[in-house]
Symmetry: C2
Subunit: 350 residues, 2 copies
């Protein structure tokens, strides 16, 4: 007999990273910013007129899109906003990847790309990174349905420079190339100029890392108005009002506080470089991260063992039980104090 | 030559209802609640520790799901939360409607159902409501891929009773039946007991209308844990953290303030009944609405003319330029004062 279960979309459930909540924990496992958001965010929330919540938000989140456009010196119709960059990327996959040809992204990269491909029944191939975890450009010269490059890449932290990306784009003018820049503010350069130069390039960024707003769910894409309009059409067919009134107000305030942004980003980078030196001393090796995390493995001690031992101390880092990366740990950068404690405990383990 | 445009998902853009923002307007066009949310919501926002926004939210929005479960005396794993009921319904369509057979919903109903069906390439049929805008149950006895019933229906405002719904469900035990109860708090009964009785019934509700939180984007579904788990699996494959930390806190506070909810809902219902009597006196006829709006047409004056004339006075109601309903206006219920002003201006027009 037939059952409603026959019509289910069966998905291998995605398991989000652990979100422990212990009073004394040092949480270095989900690449959150150790510093609170801009004081202007606190002020916006404090002053917020809750009475306005009875009304729907502006569908286009104009105040937020304008703040982003102003910061990046682009037009508001070159900006798409969504509920975190996951939402933005999911909408982009749905909008741009409707070819029968496979889309391409590296075998080691952000773990959501293949989840979205499966969800939306998009064929995909995952060219292998080389031994140094670098992308081989020639793997992306073949016929395909679209390309997604996280830059800097996760969980490796490695950044490819603009000329490298340009080469891949030049070979793929007939498909949309998405550059996922979740960690870009901790590195030297953004691919945004390429999105302005090429009409098939979309750059995706987020407020979750460098703007300390993971809890507010704000992501955005930048690209030519035609790409943005296509995403808007899909978005408005899914949910006309995705962003809460508070997200719009808070996001705009955070985007406008450039000084605070520069200060906290600088602190995270300084602590990252300090942590790299300390990890070296302890016998770790790692890619040259330009993000707010370091992806490191020890010369003799097993990653999973270190992960478990740290957990006992309520220090949480990320361990991936996946081929090729199962002897590395992804360590988010905390405050200088967090990292001093982390390094001292780590020293006792290795 | 091939172009990235060839791979676009072309969607006829959905046009959301007008969102005017004039200081002196009377906004009766998007079924918002005229009263602000609970004072407990204002308090939660005022007391909110913005520092916590640097952290991702709890993926399961447990605090919110628990508050909903407690209010409806069900288990938390019988509750799914999302970014407004549009998000919840979109995820439900994606999760449950993967048959080759068409899903069924009335020709006149919430205007997003066919938009989602098109977006997700779900075949659908739209049996016609009868002349009195009522659903004909026998239209839903045929083989199909799933059923969606808005109850009370929009934009008619008509509610079908539980025995009517039970009949449709009994004829469709092999597919998922979604009862969209966006307006249920303004009517006499919910289909929630049917969702508890039948494992294939999902009830969807929202904080946007009766809880005055359209701007906070909170919707939810209630059904057996297997349905909820299937939706969670799809959800977590789309976006692990859909709800902002503030949405979770605000939603829980609103759900817990039963007294305020009852008081504002009662006021809206009283004003609706008063408005019905006044509309009658002015020569309008309408379905017997059990929602926070009235769907009315005048005995002699054209709906579009009235719509335009009201707009000149900065009174906004909703006009649908669609077959069968293009001589009616959907009038959201405002405060008693709003509606007195509306009726007096309307009297001058007709």
């Amino acid at each position: 007999m037939s059952s409603w279960r026959d019509n289910l979309r069966y998905i291998e459930p995605y398991v989000p990273g652990e979100q422990p909540d212990l009073p004394d924990m040092v949480k270095l496992n989900t690449n959150e910013n150790p510093y609170p958001p801009s004081p202007k965010v606190a002020q916006v929330i404090k002053d917020f007129d809750s009475g306005t919540l009875r009304l729907y938000p502006d569908p286009g989140s104009k105040v937020l899109a304008d703040a982003i456009a102003k910061r990046y010196k682009i037009a508001s119709n070159e900006v798409f906003t969504g509920v975190g960059s996951d939402d933005v990327l999911a909408i982009a996959f749905m909008t741009f990847f409707n070819s029968k040809k496979p889309i391409l992204f590296p075998d080691i990269t952000y773990s959501f790309y293949d989840v979205w491909a499966k969800l939306f029944c998009i064929p995909y191939k995952r060219p292998e990174l080389d031994e140094a975890f670098k992308i081989k450009a020639e793997d992306y010269y073949c016929d395909n349905g679209g390309i997604v490059i996280a830059n800097p890449n996760a969980p490796t932290g490695i950044r490819q420079d603009k000329s490298f990306l340009r080469d891949i784009i030049e070979h793929n003018r007939d498909v949309v190339v998405i550059i996922d820049e979740a960690y870009v503010d901790f590195c030297r350069e953004s691919a945004l100029p390429l999105a302005r130069e090429y009409d098939n390039v979309l750059v995706v960024q987020t407020f979750s890392k460098s703007r300390s707003l993971a809890g507010m769910r704000i992501g955005y894409a930048m690209g030519n108005p035609e790409l943005i309009k296509a995403m808007d059409d899909v978005r408005f067919s899914f949910n006309s009002y995705p962003m809460t009134r508070l997200s719009v107000a808070v996001g705009a305030a955070a985007m406008e506080d450039e000084e605070y942004f520069r200060e906290t980003t600088r602190k995270v980078i300084d602590t990252r470089e300090w942590t790299k030196r300390e990890l070296n001393k302890l016998g770790f090796s790692f890619c040259d991260s330009e993000t707010n995390f370091i992806f490191a493995s020890h010369e003799s001690v097993d990653a999973k063992y270190i992960f478990e031992k740290l957990k006992e101390k309520h220090i949480f880092v990320r361990y991936f039980n996946s081929p090729r990366i199962d002897n590395s740990l992804r360590i988010s950068i905390g405050t200088q104090e967090d990292m001093k404690y982390f390094i001292s405990e780590l020293g006792k383990i290795v």
